[in-house]
Amino acid sequence: MGFFSVLGDCFQILKHTFRQVFKRPFTYFYPFEDRIYPERTRGRHIHVRENCTACAQCVRICPVVAIRMDKEDKMYEKDCALYFDYTRCIFCGLCVQACRFEALFHTPVVDLSEGDRDDLIYGPDKIETLDRDPLKWRGRRFR
């Protein structure tokens, strides 16, 4: 390696970095831009209570015990109050695969942060509704 070839390599690298300065950056302006999440995104769940038979397969398959089924609350026959503990959920998707009655789905909502830990335990009312349209709540699209 001669002196001048080393110098040439240095300038080659400087050329790459210099060009990069004037390119559009790859990252996006996060809270105001967001990417499109795929359909299969394993975000928070939604529970369709009409289809649920309270078979508790989702509770049994859950590897971290994040799902709790309340069977004491017998308002009507097919009652199945599910409590999802998102402090423990690992979003593995096994509960959705275990459900044979199309009663449990993932949604592409992935930003679940709350101010309080207790708010992350989604009760039956919260798990059955989506408080926002998962794909259309942010302004700009990216990628």
Partner: protein
């Protein structure tokens, strides 16, 4: 490499048994062989593996708790040029069984032996560095991978379903 060509598993087994008749072999497949080795002969067999298979890769050493103070210790070696996987199985017995360390022959086994010692309570004689590898100091002597070690099922009630098995009895070795 013992030969220029690849060595069959049965050939290797026979050559080991010829030298050490206490060993019994058990052909798992064409390229995999299991040797059942008495605990006293483990150094000789590992030495033989090192001599016969010059490119032997020490994959792992680990214990299996068969309950009632019965343990299996399994050594796995892989020789890529012979396409040969050697699995040594040693049966051990007792509260804290002992066996000779082989990590001067294969230095790569040192940590596996340390881990087996802390997890199963199998002592390796002449091990150069018998400290704990993964566990914190509080669990010295607790041997977590033994079946008797009581694991924490205290939060299982929260799920609302019955525990799948009855709870382990009192008197586990958890400190």
């Amino acid at each position: 490499m013992a030969d220029t060509s690849t060595m069959k598993a049965s050939t290797f087994g026979r050559s080991v048994i010829n030298k050490l008749p206490e060993v019994t072999s058990n052909l798992l497949s064409d390229s995999r062989i299991e040797l059942v080795v008495p605990a006293s002969k483990i150094r000789d067999v590992v030495q033989l593996v090192d001599e016969e298979l010059s490119d032997a890769l020490p994959e792992s050493v680990f214990g299996v708790d068969l309950q009632n103070d019965q343990y299996n210790l399994i050594y796995i070696f892989w020789s890529w040029s012979n396409r040969l996987l050697v699995q040594l199985r040693v049966s051990l017995e007792g509260e804290n069984p002992e066996i000779d360390s082989t990590c001067d022959i294969f230095p790569g086994l040192e940590w596996h032996e340390r881990e087996t010692r802390e997890m199963f309570g199998i002592e390796f004689r002449n091990h150069p560095d018998p400290r704990l590898l993964l566990l914190p100091d509080e669990l010295e002597g607790a041997y977590p991978l033994r079946k008797r070690f009581q694991s924490d099922l205290s939060r299982l009630d929260e799920t609302g379903i019955n525990p799948p098995k009855p709870r382990p009895k009192e008197g586990g070795e958890q400190k």
